[in-house]
Amino acid sequence: MTPLLDIKNLWVKFPTRTGVVEAVRGISFSLGRERLGIVGESGSGKSMTGRAILRLIRPPGIIEADHISLHDQDLLSLSEAKMRAIRGQKISMVMQDPKFSLNPVMTIGAQLIEAHRLHSKSSRAEARTKAIEMLEAVSIRDPERVMKAYPHEMSGGMGQRIMIAMMLIPNPEILIADEPTSALDVSVQGQVLSIMDRLVKERGMGLIFISHDLNLVSQFCDRVLIMYAGRIVEVCDADKLHQAQHPYTRGLLGSLPRFDTPRARLDVLQRDPAWREAPSVEARP
């Protein structure tokens, strides 16, 4: 089986006046028709990895890689115009910050309808019905009201769900979801996850699921990459995440508050400088 997406030796660098910041430092992984989780602390380069795949790093940032291939086609060699066709149609991404990704002065409905009509030549009425369906699918309670509302009138979690609805409209082959459920309660989270799950199972979509919620990733994903300082420190099967060996992973797991056993203080992570220098683990077949 050839993987959907294969990435070898990916670097993301930001030249600044005080030297080059390396946000991602030579990681390699591949994605099949599976749910791949990426976890790690803040600033470990998770979002930059996601954005680099779509070549959405803002200048002066630089993307370097041996290859980023989607079905044997190297995305790095494509023209910007071809890349635009890939974004959305083949690979779409739910950005981390829904409020920054939605247009603040356009109603949600107008944005959903526009996104829909951009991808399929349907009539306004059809697109509207579709948009409402999508909102219902992400368990928004009264889609009619939400269609007429502006982004700032949404709660934190509703914004996130609207972004997800928007990204699923074009029916992509690969979905990169950057912290898509961080503001959702468990029940709605479950519903959103089951939509993604269905897409992976029924349509063979590949999903990259970026999250800092270790429990969630271990339950929902098939495979997990653990990132630290721009490198992959460990790869494991999601259901074995709790037996992970690396002290960093153990530290992350240890800092979670637990519902069943109260503790006065939570453990915080003690970082070891050696982790930064350790070579990146390869997550390709």
């Binding site: 803040s42 910050d97 934190g156 769900r161 503001a183 309660d185 709790h242 992350l252 979670l256 519902f259």
Partner: protein
């Protein structure tokens, strides 16, 4: 009329509406709860159920409300004055959106102190930064030079600046990773012990609420369906279906 202790916060029959009168949206329906001085009260529930809205109504950011709200026995009117904001402060849900992009940490904190009529602002800024574990090295940084966790600390410092008695925390850690979450939660516990604060904490993560609070209200679709103690939650004594569902969903996520 002389009760031994007036509760820090008393909310009775609170209804909150949004939008124009003819098509207004009823976001919070008849909510009532009481928070004792020094306690920590959790608000959990479905996304979009009105948790943030209760905090907004309390702080005057959602102007269309009815019912009674009392802070330390004082009934709140339509307008909030500075004295109110000296006793009630709020930390927002999204640390990436709650700091002005063009103001340094110093500007944010000194303006807040200035508005509350503080003297020797310079020392106070440094002390606030120490309090939230940032130190004066961060004083002249701009938000884009800070990580999410550091931003949230600045937001907490801003809320602490007027030395409030009640701190409203709207999902203070949901945008942060677990190691930073642990730091912030520890920080909040320390601050509460040090400054004798009362917390109202919104979260969708039951484990976080259980860690921080003594009591919690469960909300669904604008209504408070149940108020129960954390011990009751741990033991699974819930009366409403929604709470049971929530507990079940959270329980099987416990590692």
């Amino acid at each position: 009329m002389t009760q031994p202790m007036t509760p820090a916060l008393q909310i009775d029959g609170l209804n909150v509406y949004f939008g124009a009168p003819h098509e207004s949206f009823h976001a919070v329906k008849n909510a009532s709860f009481t928070v004792e001085k020094g306690a920590s009260f959790g608000l959990v529930g479905e996304s979009g159920s009105g948790k943030s809205t209760i905090l907004k109504a309390l702080t005057g950011l959602a102007p269309q409300w009815e019912g009674t709200m009392r802070v330390a026995g004082q009934q709140l009117g339509a307008k909030r004055d500075r004295r109110f904001y000296r006793s009630v402060q709020m930390v927002f849900q999204d640390p990436y959106a709650s700091l002005h992009p063009r103001q340094s940490v110093d500007q944010v904190l000194s303006e807040t102190l200035y508005l509350h009529g503080a003297s020797n602002i310079d020392d106070r800024v440094n002390r606030l930064l120490e309090d939230v574990g940032l130190g004066s090295a961060f004083r002249f940084r701009y938000p884009h030079q800070l990580s999410g966790g550091q931003r949230q600390r600045v937001a907490i410092a801003r809320a602490l600046a007027p030395e409030p008695e009640i701190l409203l925390l709207d999902e203070p850690t949901s945008a942060l990773d677990v190691s930073v979450q642990a730091e912030i939660l520890n920080l909040l516990s320390d601050l509460r012990a040090e400054h004798h604060l009362t917390y109202v904490m919104v979260s969708h993560d039951l484990a976080v609420v259980a860690h921080m609070c003594d009591q919690a209200a469960v909300m669904q679709n604008g209504e408070i369906v149940e108020i129960l103690s954390i011990d009751a939650m741990r033991n699974g004594d819930a009366r409403s279906d929604y709470t049971r569902q929530l507990l079940a969903a959270s329980a099987n996520r416990v590692a």
